[in-house]
């Protein structure tokens, strides 16, 4: 099959690859570019483990064609920490024991980040709503909800 060029910014740095037409963004990120932070849970849009941020929007990378992402600004969990320092959201996940096997964690963090970027002081209902497309098998969700609420408080304290 003919290969198509894709070029986008991943966590602030330029990436260019040739992929087969029809390649998902998930496949391109993990197997071509080597960012394995988005996880492939179901490959059909039902688990949220592959969530990434494309031009500020939460997207399921398993349902997004790489070739539709030309010139996009793509963010993944791998790009969050700056100089090895975790972001408050990541820190909160650790502190709240909101991760066990960790498979859902990058998707959860992406979903939470989009929420907090738009709604810095979310209610519990806002958090539940934002995470409702993401499946977690291990934690029972409550620790994740608490982590996001804690991160929101930490962010607003930093801003103040």
């Amino acid at each position: 099959m003919a290969k198509v060029p894709v070029q986008f910014t991943l966590n602030g740095s330029e990436k260019a690859e040739f992929v087969e037409s029809g390649t998902t963004l998930l496949h391109a990120l993990r197997d071509k570019i080597g960012d394995t932070s988005p996880k492939g849970g179901c490959h059909q849009g039902t688990c949220g483990a592959c969530s990434v941020i494309v031009d500020g929007e939460l997207r399921l990378s398993c349902l997004t064609l790489a070739e539709t992402c030309s010139d996009a600004d793509i963010r993944t969990t791998a790009g969050l920490a700056e100089g090895g320092v975790l972001q408050p959201l990541q820190r909160a996940f650790l502190d709240a024991f909101a991760t066990q096997c960790g498979f859902c964690t990058p998707g959860m963090i992406m979903a939470a980040k989009v929420l907090l970027d738009r709604t810095p002081n979310p209610s519990r209902e806002d958090v539940v709503e934002a995470l409702s497309g993401n499946i977690c098998r291990c934690t029972g969700y409550e620790p994740i909800i608490q982590a996001v609420l804690t991160a929101a408080r930490a962010n607003s304290q930093n801003a103040a």
Partner: protein, 334 residues
């Protein structure tokens, strides 16, 4: 037609590990040249924190900080034998094996330190911070870093140990069939409160209160995370999860996450967890296995709560609205 409330209770007794043909786990411990300790296991961390717990157990036994221990569970082909991480056996079986291996390694470490300090090994103690000191004369000490260097480059010793923990096979008595499936049991009790809509058959779990008796909690926060997740999973088993939601024809069964239901973040019951610690006789530092146990008592508790609410006994899982409505209809007909 109404929303009816019910409350149910259940208590369970749960074995740590299983005993089919004997239940062994082995561990190997050795020091690196710089005095870190490598634990080699074939027991796998599935996310429940096995590596952290094994590091704590090894560190406690040798007398070093936990961050001086490295856990290698890379390969079940090359690692020492383990039956696996299942049946809540990891902490108990592998933990005991690690203690035995770490004790042997500690002994060699103290012998090398004794030669360096020109004292008897039995007069030495560890300070838990990476040093070995002479009892009663703590100014006379040597770092474990230097002991490891000496063992490796000067004295030609391997600071290492082998550990094996085996629950021997238990044969049933001919007459009674009695046998000992496990040496160690965890316990739990759950009270579930539900609302059942007797028109739609829908069940909402309002609250679960769980008490877990788990031996000693070697890492209380990790125990808690396991119990919180397990309690959620128990409710999920009780009300949602099945690979065949569309019986009677198996061909219409669920095949993926679209059809395999689990409660999401919007369906959480108010959850309370209480931990009781009664150290087990044969567990590492008194630990038992809380892993699987913690997702079990919610199931009969929810079933009992449904009975309390609408008077029907559902004895097939999951307790779906359809099953409740069929049972209600049968009850009305009889």
């Amino acid at each position: 037609m109404a929303i009816r409330r019910g409350r149910g209770v259940a208590a369970i007794n749960y074995p740590t590990g299983m005993n089919l043909g004997g239940d062994p786990t082995q561990a190997l411990v050795h020091s690196t040249p710089t005095g870190n300790f490598m634990v080699t296991l074939s027991s796998v961390d599935l996310g429940q924190g096995m590596k952290q717990i094994m590091a704590q157990i090894c560190a406690e036994t040798i007398g070093v900080p936990t961050d001086r221990v490295i856990i290698d569970t890379a390969d079940t082909d090359t690692g020492p034998h383990c039956m696996g991480t299942f049946a809540s056996r990891g902490t108990h079986r592998a933990g005991n094996a690690v203690i035995q291996a770490a004790k042997e390694a500690r002994q060699v470490m103290l012998e090398v330190a004794a030669e360096e300090l020109e004292v008897n090994a039995s007069d030495l103690e560890t300070d838990g911070e990476g040093n070995i000191k002479v009892k009663g004369a703590p100014q006379k000490s040597i770092s474990i870093f230097d002991v490891a260097l000496s063992a490796h480059f000067k004295r030609g010793r391997s600071i290492s140990g082998r550990g094996m923990f085996l629950i021997p096979r238990s044969y049933p008595e001919k007459e009674t069939g009695a046998m000992k499936p496990s040496t160690c049991y965890a316990h739990a009790c759950t009270v579930a409160e539900v609302e059942v809509d007797d028109e739609t058959g829908e069940v909402t779990v309002l609250a679960v209160k769980n008490v877990f008796e788990i031996g000693r909690a070697l890492n209380p926060k990790m125990v808690e995370q396991q119990l919180v997740g397990g309690s959620w999973m128990g409710i999920s088993h009780a009300l949602y999860e099945t690979t065949e939601p569309y019986y009677p024809n198996r061909d219409h069964g669920g095949t993926d996450f679209n059809q395999y239901l689990m409660p999401g973040p919007g369906d959480l019951a108010k959850t309370e967890i209480i931990v009781l610690e009664r150290p087990s006789a044969d567990g590492p530092f008194g630990a038992k296995g809380p892993g699987e146990m913690c997702a079990n008592p919610q199931i009969p508790a929810v079933a009992n709560a449904v009975f309390d609410a609408v008077g029907v006994r559902i004895d097939t899982l999951p307790i779906t609205p359809e099953r409740i409505l069929r049972a209600l209809r049968a009850q009305a007909a009889s």
